[in-house]
């Protein structure tokens, strides 16, 4: 996969997502358009409920939009079959969540190995698990279950799971939302290092302006819309 920063890798056009809650339509996304270059590190900021997480979930194929289009690498993803969209979620993207979302019954190593199996990369990438755990500083804790780790360690394990298969896109939804400032800084440093090393396209949702500034570009959302335009706030690193 060519990770050079040369073209628009993700194209979002006229994206709408309407939820029906309590008999009323809620416009989580309202005519959102956005372009992201391959290898770009983008922060999406905005207040709670502005639609930034919904945008991330649509881009990751976790939910389908009510209207509009999303193409990744030139391929429209909104009308894919369950198998194809699952493949996209598993292989092309990696998710990091605010609540870590590690499976509590499995060890850290098993969590990552299971993800590899689901992605179908279990056999050829098994040796990468140990390396990745070393990379995130959890080499000596691979036999621990999530409940036996600190929150910062759990998030590092979740990042290892998300990037062990070298996905083209890393989607992070408030990855520091449950962490103290020291752990937040460590996680953001990890993101920046991985972006430098792997040249992945990173979309990071946050309401923390300090965290957002670690990205190359910042997009601000409010009430389901991009309020300052996709190129409006550009952080110079």
């Amino acid at each position: 996969m060519n990770n050079a920063v040369t073209d628009n890798f993700i194209e979002v056009a006229g994206l709408c997502k309407i939820y029906r809650t309590g008999g009323e339509d809620v416009h989580a996304l309202d005519n959102v358009s956005l372009s992201v270059r391959r290898g770009e590190f983008l922060s999406i900021v905005g207040p709670s409920g502005c639609g930034k997480s919904t945008l991330l979930y649509v881009l990751g194929g976790l939910t389908t939009p009510s209207s509009g289009s999303v193409s990744i690498g030139g391929e429209e993803i909104c009308n894919l079959s369950d198998a194809s969209i699952s493949h996209l979620r598993g292989v092309l993207t990696g998710f990091v969540f605010q609540r870590f979302n590690l499976l509590p019954t499995l060890t850290i190593y098993e969590n990552i190995a299971l993800a590899q199996k689901i992605r179908g990369t279990g056999v050829q990438r098994k040796e990468h698990i140990g390396e990745m755990l070393e990379r995130v500083g959890l080499g000596g804790k691979k036999g621990r279950r999530p409940a036996e780790l600190s929150m910062g360690e759990q998030q590092r394990a979740a990042i290892a799971r998300a990037v062990v298969h070298r996905p083209a896109i890393l989607l992070a939804d408030e990855p520091t939302g449950n962490l103290d400032s020291a752990n937040s800084e460590a996680i953001i440093t990890l993101f920046s290092e991985m972006h430098r090393e792997l040249r992945q396209t990173i979309l990071l949702v946050t309401h923390n302006s300090d965290v957002a500034r670690s990205a190359e570009r910042i997009v601000q959302m409010r009430d389901g819309r991009i309020v300052h335009g996709p190129q409006s706030i550009v952080h110079s690193k």
Partner: protein, 367 residues
């Protein structure tokens, strides 16, 4: 997936244990009840075969189990039966059902010489053949179960009989009395319930031919080869096959309901986990397969537990109820295993499809 399935079963120990026990009870219920029925019938049929006779002749419509008094036959038919080509000997037997120590037994009234002529040789391990009208012979299992010894008295048919001898179990009935005594007690002089026939081995007439000949010559009689008498017994016990069907269905339904309830509650409990798996790229099919795998694992453990429990019951029955026979064959275990797993798969289908249809985003925000 396998590690996750194992981990889920191990992690939720109480739920898994209850599920395994419930499925195991269904399997044990199936194996013990059908095993007892089949065992008792098979043992009765085996004892009939062990008489050494080739054919049993009864009035048409008489019970195959001999547990109930059928229409009686005149003993004089024996002479006519012996004239049929291929028949070597005929022995009249008067059967009667009675209770000894509150347990129901079928007793045979025979003439020992005539009985031996058709192959019914009772191998005495203690005592001697009867010499008196009110003496009887018991088999070892009945004697052992009730602690009877030679010389003991047993109240029977309104009289007191003395145990003259104890024979090795496995031939015909468990209790033998002189046929004349039984006829007199029942006011059935000159009558019997059935005839055992001995046919000439390797002769020009097969057992099947001879049985057909008897039925042609005596339309009021039916003749069955003893080597297929087990089938006759099973078919003639009203509702036995239906009983097996009900027990089998009950085990299937228990397995189905237990798994349905277990997996349904598990799916609700693990909604967030399903969302995580979907975010990692798991397809709907993967989720369904995961649910089914877990239920099959629980059912397999239930089958193992049920089989082990069945073996314990079998040992307990052999010790505490030596007159009962429980037949549990490898085929029976396989049938029960297939049934348990089938119930598990059926029970997992609805929870599986429900889990697969969960919206990943909603699942990820599930508390």
């Amino acid at each position: 997936m396998t590690s996750l399935v194992w981990a889920n079963v191990r992690h939720r120990k109480t739920r898994s244990l209850l599920c395994v026990v419930a499925v195991g009870i269904g399997i044990a219920l199936l194996l013990v009840l059908t095993g007892l029925c089949r065992g008792m019938i098979a043992e009765s049929a085996q004892r009939m075969r062990n008489t050494g006779a080739s054919i049993i002749v009864q009035p048409r419509g008489a019970s195959g189990l001999l547990a109930f008094k059928g229409s009686s036959l005149p003993v004089k038919y024996g002479a006519e039966l012996q004239q049929i080509p291929g028949v070597m000997a005929a022995c009249p037997v008067l059967t009667w059902t009675t209770t000894i120590e509150k347990v129901i037994y079928v007793i045979y009234g025979v003439d020992l010489k005539s009985y031996e002529a058709v192959g019914g040789r009772l191998q005495l391990v203690e005592g001697r053949p009867w010499r008196d009208a009110h003496e009887l012979l018991l088999d070892t299992r009945l004697a052992h179960a009730n602690g009877y010894r030679v010389g003991d008295g047993i109240p029977l048919l309104g009289a007191r009989f003395t145990v003259a001898g104890i024979f090795k179990s496995g031939v015909g009935a468990r209790v033998y009395v002189p046929i004349g005594t039984l006829q007199t007690s029942l006011h059935l002089e000159g009558m019997c319930s059935l005839f055992f026939l001995k046919t000439k081995a390797g002769g020009e007439h097969t057992v099947k031919d001879i049985a057909a000949h008897i039925e042609r010559q005596f339309p009021a009689l039916r003749a069955n080869a003893l080597d297929r008498y087990e089938d006759v017994m099973v078919n003639e016990v009203t509702g036995l096959n239906e009983f097996f069907g009900v027990i089998t269905s009950t085990a299937l339904v228990i397995s189905f309901l237990v798994i349905l309830l277990t997996m349904y509650t598990t799916i609700i409990e693990r909604t967030r986990e399903i969302g995580i798996l979907r975010s990692l790229g798991a397809t709907k099919t993967y989720i369904i397969r995961m649910v089914i795998k877990e239920s099959v694992l629980l059912c397999a453990l239930g089958v193992i537990a049920g089989s082990a429990f069945t073996m314990l019951v079998r040992v307990w029955i052999a010790i505490s109820h030596p007159l009962l026979t429980m037949e549990v064959t490898p085929a029976g275990f396989l049938r029960a295993a297939a049934l348990g797993v089938a119930g598990g798969i059926l029970g997992a289908l609805y929870p599986g499809f429900r889990a697969a249809s969960v919206d990943p985003v909603e699942a990820l925000s599930y508390e």
